[in-house]
């Protein structure tokens, strides 16, 4: 039989105190709640309390396993379980929907000691998170070619574009995308290696299916600027400074065409008033058009 660990009689505890103690017992292993519990008909109260304690960690590990299956396959069950346990302690769930429990896992991995030497782990997790987010992110209208052709050519210079809420742009230092793609296709992943230069990845939803593709540096630069509300005219200028100025408008139009075809844009809006510039000193200023 379990000893009473608290001098306070169980009956004097309020419902709020009972709930605080039971939660502390499950999350932190505190035994104070035991004095408020009765033994079961065939089992002691501490063993029965253990059902909740075990279920708490096991359930959340399962949630992370389900959200990050490729990371688990990559690091192995034991390391994944250790990482998950550390995350559960560092990031107890604050959301009522378990769907959002694991959202900080990629960022957590970036700073975790066991993965600091393996940046591909956090990057792989970031890809998995972006795909999951694309799956159930907000619905929004899809901008089509006909929508865009409604604007006269001289207005295009002032058009800004809203990216679909499902779009995530990632920047990778390691070959995490190659690893992710191999695991998705059921093949053994290649060894992790740093890339010669950063790789840009776009993740979004087309129809109901998440899509992932590599973006060239120039397209990624233009896409990021479009995301920040830079008008098309300025996007063309940026593309012109990135590479051959003569073909810049064609290249910019080609990227735009690709985004339209793959349902990455949700609206185009004329912005005649101002464009924001970020100056070298970090301050932002506006220039009238």
């Amino acid at each position: 039989m379990t000893d009473n660990p608290s001098p306070m009689p169980a009956s004097s505890l309020t419902l709020a105190e009972i709930q605080s103690r039971l939660q502390a017992a499950i999350v932190s292993g505190d035994d104070a709640i035991l004095s408020s519990l009765a033994d079961g008909s065939r089992e002691s109260r501490d063993v029965l309390l253990g059902v909740y304690r075990h279920a708490y960690t096991a359930r959340l590990i399962e949630v992370l396993s389900s959200d990050y299956p490729f990371l688990r396959a990559c690091v192995g069950d034991d390391l994944f379980r250790d990482l998950a346990k550390s995350y559960i302690v560092a990031h107890p769930s604050k959301s009522q929907n378990v769907r959002w429990f694991g959202t900080a896992f990629p960022r957590f991995l970036e700073g975790h000691e066991s993965t600091a030497q393996h940046p591909e782990h956090a990057e792989l997790a970031a890809i998995e998170k972006a795909v999951a987010d694309a799956f159930d992110s907000a619905d929004a209208p899809v901008l089509g070619f006909t929508d865009l052709s409604a604007y006269p050519p001289d207005e295009w210079v002032n058009l800004t574009f809203a990216l679909h809420p499902s779009v995530t742009l990632l920047q990778l230092r390691m070959n995490a995308f190659e690893i992710w793609r191999s695991l998705k296709e059921g093949e053994p992943p290649p060894p992790a290696v740093p890339l010669a230069c950063n790789q840009h990845l776009a993740v979004w939803r087309q129809g109901t299916s998440p899509k992932v593709r590599v973006m060239a540096d120039e397209e990624a630069m233009m896409c990021g600027a479009a995301w920040r509300g830079t008008p098309f005219g300025m996007l063309c200028v940026m593309v012109a400074t990135f590479d051959d100025p003569e073909t810049a408008p064609m290249r910019a139009a080609s990227y735009l065409q690709s985004w339209l075809a793959s349902e990455m844009l949700t609206s185009a809006n004329p912005q005649p008033l101002a464009v924001r510039f970020k100056m070298n000193n970090g301050l932002e200023c506006e220039q009238l058009q």
């Binding site: 169980a10 709020a16 709930q19 519990l37 008909s41 065939r42 059902v51 378990v98 907000a138 929004a140």
Partner: protein, 298 residues
């Protein structure tokens, strides 16, 4: 003025609460693994119970699938995170999202569990037990009133499987639930497996539970499998409904009559056809027991 509005809303809920949801027949818990089979094969399932939180997401495929299935089948929304018994304040965003989802789905009814899931801003994502005290009853009654008024519809509250019980409980679980439904007008989801699990773990008589629940408030039966560990049972929803739960189901049908019934499976999820076959057992048992009941009454 505000009080007059509250009284009017409460009266409206009570009027709605008197309109018992219809008998839906025999259904299944809706699981994403079965979406395509449901839409392609239109299986012999009368209705589906959708986990509310699975669809409380911004958009995308889950909501589109639910819309498609809703167009063909009646749906009940069944939550796991309302935390009706928590002493923490309600998460208003959660309630808002639930109300939005209910407006979209137009479910037969909305249900959740007699439990709490966390306090102090933390969610344990478990269905945690409460002491069956007058203090807890008053607290849960007030919270059920609040949610019913917020949603503009009566809730259905489900008994949970419990592994611990509190030494200072002042009444049995069935008395607590009976008082709750009397004072709030909420409906009840009678989880047959949960009654079996809790009765075994705590050593009380499952039939006393069945006999202690008011007949006219039960609008749904849950059936599921569990993990038997000799000294205690864990509610796992990962196996076939065992014979002892079918046996209790027989007694429940005999007391409560025709009640909308589902089989819940949350782990080791088999092909849809297997669950439809298992659902056939529920149909057969219910038909047998209802025929027996009819014979006894004539």
């Amino acid at each position: 003025m505000a009080r007059a509005k509250t009284v009017a809303v409460t009266r409206s809920i009570r009027e709605t609460a008197s309109q018992r949801p219809p008998f839906l027949g025999f259904g299944l818990g809706l699981r994403p693994q079965h979406y395509s089979d449901i839409l392609e094969a239109s299986p012999k399932v009368d209705w589906f119970e959708a986990i509310s939180e699975n669809y409380m997401v911004p958009g995308g495929q889950p909501l589109r699938m639910l819309d498609k299935i809703r167009a063909r089948y009646p749906i009940v929304l069944h939550g796991v995170s309302l935390s009706i018994a928590s002493t923490a304040p309600f998460n208003e965003n959660y309630l808002k999202d639930l109300k939005t989802l209910a407006a979209r789905v137009e479910p037969q009814f909305v249900s959740d569990h007699l439990c709490w899931t966390g306090v102090h801003g933390v969610n344990l994502h478990d269905l945690l037990p409460i002491p069956y005290t007058r203090e807890a009853l008053d607290h849960v009654v007030a919270r059920v009133h609040y949610v019913q008024e917020y949603l503009g519809r009566p809730l259905a509250i489900e008994n949970v499987s419990t592994y611990v019980q509190f030494a200072h409980s002042e009444m049995p679980e069935w008395e607590f639930i009976t008082e709750l439904t009397k004072r709030t007008g909420c409906w009840l989801v009678f989880d047959v497996n949960n009654v079996f699990v809790s009765a075994f773990n705590h050593g009380w008589d499952a039939h006393a539970f069945i006999d202690g629940i008011p007949i006219d408030r039960v609008v749904q039966f849950h059936l599921a499998g569990h993990e038997h560990n000799v000294s205690h049972i864990i509610d796992t929803h990962d196996a076939l409904v065992p014979e002892e739960v079918w046996e209790l189901f027989r007694a429940a049908v005999k007391r409560f009559g025709p009640v909308s019934t589902i089989i819940e499976r949350d782990d080791n999820i088999p092909p849809l056809a297997d669950l439809v076959a298992e659902l056939g057992t529920a149909r057969t048992i219910a038909e047998e027991m209802l025929a027996e009941l009819k014979q006894e009454r004539t």
